[in-house]
């Protein structure tokens, strides 16, 4: 086996069971699959109106996902304590690349510092360490869009992601 043979790696596909309306399965690449990976990258397609990290309504039972390593997550805003992350939103109308295909409302920060970023053209959103991010709402959908996220850490464990389970939908 040549010295570079191991550098071509099959992409993992994470499927939601049952499927979540408006979202494709997610391609994932990082150190869980390849030892020398320097970042954790996810690629997915939004296929309808959709929301991420939207929280649960007041009084409703919290949704908690427990990962294979025991880490607790769920559909709530998050902080990343040990890595920066960038989300890239691109459209799929290749003849009109400035058309994102939907309007995205991305909440960045919290309290009086919270900024709501609204855009309907391709954009990247940079999330610094220790800054809460989410929810993200995709609305006015008229065409599929691709979302790529790049976490500047080889895996999610080392990024130290904390979920804000206290967040409640407005």
């Amino acid at each position: 086996m040549g010295m570079y043979e191991k550098y071509c790696v099959e992409l993992n596909i994470k499927k939601d069971v049952p499927p979540i309306k408006g979202k494709s399965p997610v391609y994932m690449f990082g150190q869980d699959y390849f030892r020398d990976a320097f970042s954790w990258t996810e690629v997915m397609t939004i296929t309808d109106e959709f929301m991420m990290m939207e929280g649960t309504a007041k009084g409703k039972e919290k949704i908690v996902h427990i990962g294979p390593d025991g880490h607790k997550g769920g559909p709530y805003p998050k902080w990343i304590h040990n890595a920066e992350k960038v989300f890239l939103f691109c459209g799929t109308d290749l003849d009109h690349p400035e058309d994102l295909g939907a309007t995205v409302e991305f909440h960045l920060g919290e309290g009086t510092q919270e900024e709501v970023l609204v855009f309907d053209q391709p954009r990247a959103v940079f999330v610094p360490k220790n800054l809460r991010h989410g929810p993200v709402y995709v609305k006015d959908f008229h065409r599929s869009l691709n979302v790529v996220s790049v976490l500047n850490a080889p895996n999610r464990q080392s990024a130290d992601i904390e979920t804000d389970f206290t967040y409640e939908q407005e």
Partner: protein, 211 residues
Amino acid sequence: MSNLKNNCIEMYLREDIPRRPGRAGTWILGQEFKEQEYFEEAPNMVEILMITGNYMMMNGFPEGFQKRTYNMGDHKGGPFPKYNKGCDKTMIFSGTNMEDLRDLGAHVEFHLGEGEDEVVFEFDSPRAVFIPQNVRYGPIYITDFKSDVMVTNVYTVNSKAAAQVVNDFEFVGDDAKIKKVIGNDLEAYKKFYGSDPVVPMEEVVKRSKKK
């Protein structure tokens, strides 16, 4: 006003004019050329492009063809294999067939390394290819196209200057492989590279400053 508004970043769209057969424009986060403003805090350069037909990258020119190089403003570029002297890079090939995401939508032949160390990866399902610093990569031939293929490039640095991209201008293209991509019509091949496919850098800088 919170300065977090600045964290919503307009990316640079690099388009070939005229558009090359088989490829749409590339969205770029990071600094593509020196005069371009970019968001310095974001640590990784990321490029997203869609392959829309049979296509080839870094394929060189066959014997007898006049080699072309392109003026990229602060450096010369061209369709030749490359080294990244200043960073590692990952190229992620993903499919767009929502009914079957294991179907890449085309066949990819990816050359990594050179001489005795060269390996040729062939795949038609989604893959990531890791390119270590200083290792030559390319050509890439995309054939048997069925549906759009998305390519996402992630670098360990956030500018092309820091990536220190070096072209192997001496590489001689493989005529048979090139014909497998574009067919036997060499006029089509001349057209493929018939005019400078990149928006002149002065125009790009002008647009960037206007924004």
